[in-house]
């Protein structure tokens, strides 16, 4: 059961066009909701029943998030889509924007209807020019067809939707940094509470959902929450887009049921390149602790299974590493990333990510000291849980996993001033 939800139009010619989307029943759900004036509570209940959890990485239940909005409170409310796809290894939302942008538009309109919002923004990362243009074309087509603007299909419901382009800052994927960015400021996360449901964009009640989450909404409502939930497994409803990359014959995006064995996903991705040995897998974006290959081959791709193995499903970004990779070098590159992308607001993250990078780097470059291994764990522990946003945790998370599973490689670097892998 592949490509049932967000990528269900992928087999069509130019699937991003309105007529193609409508040839598969696109905008029928929205039309029905507007005609029948479906009570918003019913929509939110259905989304709750679907078991859909935030596909950006945090996995927070989408229906529950929507229910936090006081929909009858006066004044402007906003729906914001997070297409600031930036977690290393993640490239699924790009495909939704490129190939099925109308389903995202329909999902956002329905979300707006459900929470009583009349305005929305889709925050697309600045480098995604082609996806942005596809989304803009979809907005234009939807507007001309009467799905956006005032008094949609004569229902009395108004909704206007715009893109906002980012400028190259990973931290803007954090929802409150993203809001700051739309407001024309540095993308530095806000202290919470208050949460966006009460004080969001321009200080108004706001829901922020990931691209894949919102693009899943039309099918969830069309087929019913239980249909979606049953595709997946307990606590992990639905199918999910997995971006799988690394040392593979056929990397790419695969939409498969939650709970699919990793071994099957690996097979879809053509297996490890050159028939080499699977060494390790980072199962949910570079913030997710690494899992050794052998252990990974026994796991299924769902929130609980990956969490029980000590990691997280995150955004569904699976990075596959073969046995030619030096894990010290991999951690060095990841640590550099978090150091580079820390917004600098919280001291533990701003300083700690630099410490992590410098210490891993000196181990990688043959200047490590024995006490560095404890130092790394110590620094990571002093970042985790001590910052406003999760970037600090994301930087700290991979360290413990690497030291737990591949300590011998770090030790070898310290003892022999060179690499255990390929004696490089």
């Amino acid at each position: 059961m592949v490509n049932e939800v967000c990528l269900r139009t992928l087999d069509l010619d130019r699937p991003w066009r309105l007529e193609q989307y409508q040839s598969r029943g696109g905008y029928e759900m929205l039309t029905r909701i507007l005609k029948e004036k479906t009570p918003p509570d019913e929509i939110i209940e259905e989304v709750k029943k679907s078991g859909l959890r935030g596909r950006g990485g945090a996995g927070f239940p989408t229906g529950l998030k929507w229910s936090f909005i006081a929909r009858n409170a006066p004044g402007q409310k906003y729906v914001v889509c997070n297409s600031d796809e930036g977690e290393p290894g993640t490239f699924k939302d790009r495909d939704i924007l490129r190939y099925n942008p109308h389903q995202l538009v329909e999902g956002m309109i329905i979300a707006a209807y459900a929470i009583g919002a009349t305005r929305g923004y889709n925050y697309i990362r600045g480098e995604f020019w082609e996806p942005y243009e596809r989304f803009e074309t979809a907005l234009k087509e939807a507007r001309e067809a009467g799905f956006l603007g005032e008094n949609l299909l004569g229902s009395g419901f108004d909704f206007e939707l715009h893109s906002h382009l980012g400028g190259g800052a990973y931290v803007c994927g954090e929802e409150t940094a993203l809001l700051e960015s739309i407001e024309g400021k540095k993308g530095q996360p806000r202290f919470k509470p208050p949460f966006p449901a009460h004080f969001g964009l321009y200080g108004r009640p706001t829901i922020i959902n990931n691209t894949e989450s919102l693009a899943s909404i039309p099918m969830i409502l069309k087929e019913g929450g239980p249909w979606f939930a049953d595709i997946g497994v307990k606590n992990s409803g639905g199918s999910k887009l997995f971006s799988i990359s690394g040392n593979l014959n056929n990397p790419g995006v695969f939409e498969i049921p939650m709970g699919t064995p990793f071994s099957e996903l690996l097979e879809m991705a053509g297996g490890v390149k050159g028939g080499r040995k699977l060494k390790a897998v980072i199962p949910g974006g570079s913030s997710a602790p690494v899992i050794p290959g052998e252990q990974m081959m026994d796991l299924t791709m769902d929130y609980d299974a990956i969490a029980e193995a000590g990691s997280m499903l995150g955004s569904g970004a699976v990075i596959v590493l073969d046995d030619t990779n030096c894990m010290v070098k991999v951690l060095e590159r990841m640590s550099y990333f978090y150091h580079e992308e820390s917004c600098g607001q919280c001291t533990p993250c701003r300083e700690g990510t630099g410490w992590l990078y410098r210490v891993v780097s000196r181990i990688e470059n043959g200047q490590g000291r024995q006490e560095d291994l404890d130092l790394l764990n110590d620094v990571a522990a002093r970042i985790g849980g001590r910052t406003i946003c999760a970037l600090g945790d994301a930087a700290a998370g991979p360290v413990a996993g690497m030291l737990k599973h591949f300590r011998d490689e770090f030790q070898y670097h310290i003892d022999h001033k060179k690499c255990l892998v390929g004696a490089g």
Partner: protein, 168 residues
């Protein structure tokens, strides 16, 4: 915070640039013109050969009724804004994990050799700048790079050569 007083906003920027910025301003609430600052900076940067001068940032501030410092904060925070001159073609190479393990080092080396510059530098003739960037969200096509608005994936030295030869 002080804003810059201007008598006539029509004197800032060309008609085309003002038109483009105004389209973005219209997307946001009337009292939130500042929301268009990222787009405005991108538009004036593109029109200025790919980089922002202090004067241009001040112009953006004046046009959007912002304090110049608030514009500088944005321009220095986001990596896609350039505060120094760049080449006509800015080549952004991803070296993050998925690209790294698919030999992005070879991409960097090949480009450095071919252009005779290092990462972060611009060729003397002003045609090319090499920039190392973080994950661009195209890991399935690793190793990859971006030139202008275009992504180039599954790079090899031969593919890179043909891409560069196709550039003006």
């Amino acid at each position: 915070m002080n804003t810059i007083e201007v008598n006539n906003k029509a004197e800032i920027f060309s008609t085309e640039i003002r038109g483009e910025i105004d389209q973005w301003v219209a997307k946001y609430p009337a009292d939130w013109k500042q929301s268009a600052v990222m787009a405005a900076l991108r538009i004036v940067q593109d029109a200025n050969g790919g980089w922002l001068t202090t004067e241009l940032m001040n112009d953006v501030a004046a046009y959007l009724d912002m304090a110049p410092i608030a514009v500088y904060e944005v321009a220095t925070f986001y990596s896609m804004y350039e505060l120094k001159p760049v080449g006509k073609h800015k080549i952004c190479i991803c070296t993050n994990v998925s690209c790294m393990i698919n030999n992005s080092e070879r991409v960097v080396e090949h480009l450095e050799d071919r252009l005779g510059i290092k990462l972060g530098q611009t060729t003397e003739d002003g045609r090319f700048t090499l920039k190392e960037v973080e994950c661009l969200g195209a890991c399935g096509g690793a190793p990859m790079m971006q030139i202008g608005k275009q992504y180039y994936e599954n790079l090899t030295p031969e593919i890179i050569d043909s891409i560069l030869e196709g550039l003006e």
